[in-house]
């Protein structure tokens, strides 16, 4: 029980305010400074891949996450190492947050040395002032399918092989065409400069290759490549593959845990102030368009995000058969897109812990007969739009309609099932028993909040993010301008200097982990074998100049040919 591999991926928004009279800095430049700062605090090693990714000594990773059309406007992405159980996962998330918070003043100094003095911050949230959505994804190692569904999955993968081969070939043709066009364009500009003195004077070739216009060109080229490669060339593979995902993957969890997941924001929502001034429970929730991803596009946000399963297919462009074969395994990484970034440790622990427990129950077949949502996405929108917790959503049991239920009632139904599940387990799990107790106490407090309103919310301040943020908006934000209230909404999430951090610093928010535990977790790996092996290599090498490339599933020591490869578990593929 609670013994599966899991991890969190968190995108941190970058805030940089240049000192008066100083130039702004692009986010890729800021990321470089943050990465160098992190490197001065812990050992790091470059990831094995084209992506700008660095592994840190506890086995986790940092990366620069950006859209191809905006290489200068990306985010800092942190991924916890693979953890064994929810408590460990939250500890490593906290270690990552603390590491980045400590890196900020060092990064500020590095930027100042480069002639860019200013104030730097990282926001652990999911929605900016203009409503752009990014943020957190939760990962749980889960049984993809069993019996006939698993064989259908595998047969579908085999059937896709000829199409994959054709798409890989088409990919290479488009890459070669692009390269040729680029070389032709450079040659044409070079020739024109020779002929025309005006063009020669402007040194157009240098402009294209080196300076500002090159960045614009890079953006356009990146966007074209992204659309052509991801959306057109690979469409014949991705459409049927995502249909196969919908048909076969994680059906037990999707069917029996959906009502839990969609009512979960009452525990785990970060709270969000909309443009019209209304307050909702979740930052990510309003962006959900589907239950299961239908396409790889950014806007196709889904509760169950199969995007990670698509990556091994796209890697076939480089004939990476190993990752493709990993798709045949029974247990895969299930990625949840409906996930808010939590500042409160209790909320984060409830998020990961209750979900892991419910997945345990789904896999054990212990969730049959629980209420199911009649209109899931409609129910989600209703629940997250109602901080009074009174709204009732339509549910059914089998084909029979039941009386509409509140999110608290749905959570209680899952809680009671979890209580029985933990009680009759053959091996007692202390963590599961504690978790059920915390879940129960929190629902009791939410029940009081629903009955008595703000007068009863004190028990949850510092524990649940949406309650704490609403309290701050009602007190610190009372009578403030809309912009100041939005600033409270956003700065609540800033690492180190944010508003929640002030609560924590004054011991007004309970901590599950001591500062010493968190400091230790920066350097030491969690208990999973992959993370331990990765961490051992990074720590043993220290700052030595050794050719080593690290990834989630293997470590390559020495040269690509003739070097040594250490294989790790295949929980993560990219």
């Amino acid at each position: 029980m609670l013994d599966r591999l899991l991890g969190l991926e968190t995108e941190y928004a970058i805030r940089f305010t240049p000192a008066p009279g100083s130039p702004a800095a692009d986010n890729d430049v800021i990321y470089d400074a943050v990465r160098s700062a992190v490197d001065s605090l812990v050992f790091t090693r470059r990831g094995d891949g084209a992506r700008e990714q660095y592994f840190v000594e506890n086995g986790g990773a940092l990366a620069y996450e950006f859209l191809p059309g905006a290489p200068d406007g990306g985010l800092v992405e942190g991924a916890t190492p693979e953890c064994r159980g929810p408590a460990e996962c939250v500890l490593y998330q906290r270690a990552q947050d603390a590491l980045l918070a400590d890196a900020l003043p060092i990064a500020e100094r590095l930027l100042a040395e480069q002639g860019r003095p200013g104030s730097l911050g990282l926001l652990k949230n999911c929605r900016d002032a203009e409503g752009h959505v990014y943020g957190v994804q939760e990962n749980y190692e889960t049984e993809l399918a069993r019996g006939p569904a698993l064989w259908l999955w595998r047969a579908g993968l085999v059937a896709l092989v000829p199409v994959i081969a054709a798409c890989a070939l088409a990919s290479w043709v488009t890459i070669l065409v692009f390269l040729s066009l680029w070389l032709l364009a450079v040659a044409a500009v070079g020739l024109a400069s020779l002929v025309s003195p005006r063009l020669r004077q402007r040194d157009l070739l240098s402009e294209i290759l080196m300076s500002g216009p090159s960045r614009r060109f890079e953006r356009v080229l990146g966007q074209i490549e992204y659309v052509l490669h991801g959306h057109i060339v690979w469409a014949p593979v991705l459409w049927p593959f995502l249909a196969l995902v919908r048909l076969t993957a994680f059906r037990a969890v999707r069917r029996h845990a959906l009502a839990f997941l969609l009512s979960r924001p009452i525990l785990t929502g970060a709270g969000s102030l909309a443009a019209d001034g209304s307050f909702g429970l979740s930052e990510k929730g309003p962006a959900m368009r589907r239950l299961v991803r239908l396409w790889v596009g950014q806007r196709d946000r889904a509760v169950f995000d199969g995007g990670n399963l698509c990556k091994p297919l796209l890697r076939m462009t480089y004939f990476d058969l190993r990752r493709f074969f990993q798709l045949f395994r029974r247990r895969q990484r299930m990625q949840l897109g409906l996930a808010d970034a939590n500042m409160a440790q209790v909320a984060e622990y409830l998020k990961v812990g209750t979900t892991a427990l419910v997945i345990d129950m789904a896999e054990a077949g212990a969730l049959h007969g629980l209420p199911r949502l009649r209109h899931p996405l409609r129910a989600l929108r209703a629940i997250i739009a109602d901080p009074s917790l009174q709204v009732r959503v339509e549910v059914q049991a089998g084909a029979t309609m039941r009386a509409p239920m509140r999110a608290i009632d749905i959570q209680r139904a899952y809680l009671e099932r979890a209580r029985a599940f933990v009680a009759r387990a053959s091996v007692t799990s202390l963590e599961a028993a504690d978790l059920v107790g915390l879940w129960s106490r929190t629902l009791d407090a939410l029940e009081a909040l629903a009955a008595r309103g703000a007068a009863a919310r004190a028990a949850l301040i510092g524990q649940l993010d949406w309650v704490t943020k609403r309290y701050l908006l009602d007190t610190a934000g009372a009578g403030a301008s809309p912009a100041a209230r939005k600033k409270i909404d956003l700065k609540y999430h800033e690492l180190g200097a944010g508003y929640f951090a002030r609560f924590e610093a004054e011991d007004l928010a309970p901590r599950l982990w001591s500062t010493a535990d968190i400091a230790r977790a920066r350097h030491e790996p969690p208990s999973s074998s992959s993370a331990r092996a990765r961490s051992r290599v990074i720590r043993n090498l220290g700052r030595r100049e050794t050719a080593v490339k690290v990834s989630w599933d293997r470590i390559r020591l020495g040269r690509p040919i003739g070097g040594t490869v250490i294989r790790l578990d295949a929980y993560r593929d990219s």
């Binding site: 859209l67 943020g135 950014q298 007004l508």
Partner: protein
């Protein structure tokens, strides 16, 4: 997870309820638990101080803060 870390978590979970109780004073709702009055007054004072600090900070050029935190849509 190591036993030391497990014990640390368990101790913390036991204290979550206590911390929650002390928060009642922060809103002036009244103690409702067995905490000493001076401890509750202390919590109340600290909470008021934090809220006042946040109110003052939020009023400082909020438009600039909002502008500098805008990011392009989702890298995820």
């Amino acid at each position: 997870m190591s036993h030391a870390v497990q014990r640390s978590l368990q101790r913390s979970l036991e204290h979550v309820g206590v911390a929650a109780g002390s928060e009642r004073a922060a809103e002036g709702v009244g103690p409702g638990d067995a905490q000493p009055a001076h401890a509750l007054r202390d919590v109340h004072a600290r909470a008021s101080e934090v809220v006042a600090g946040i109110a003052a900070d939020a009023a400082v050029d909020p438009e600039l803060y909002l502008r500098t935190t805008v990011v392009p849509e989702g890298g995820e």
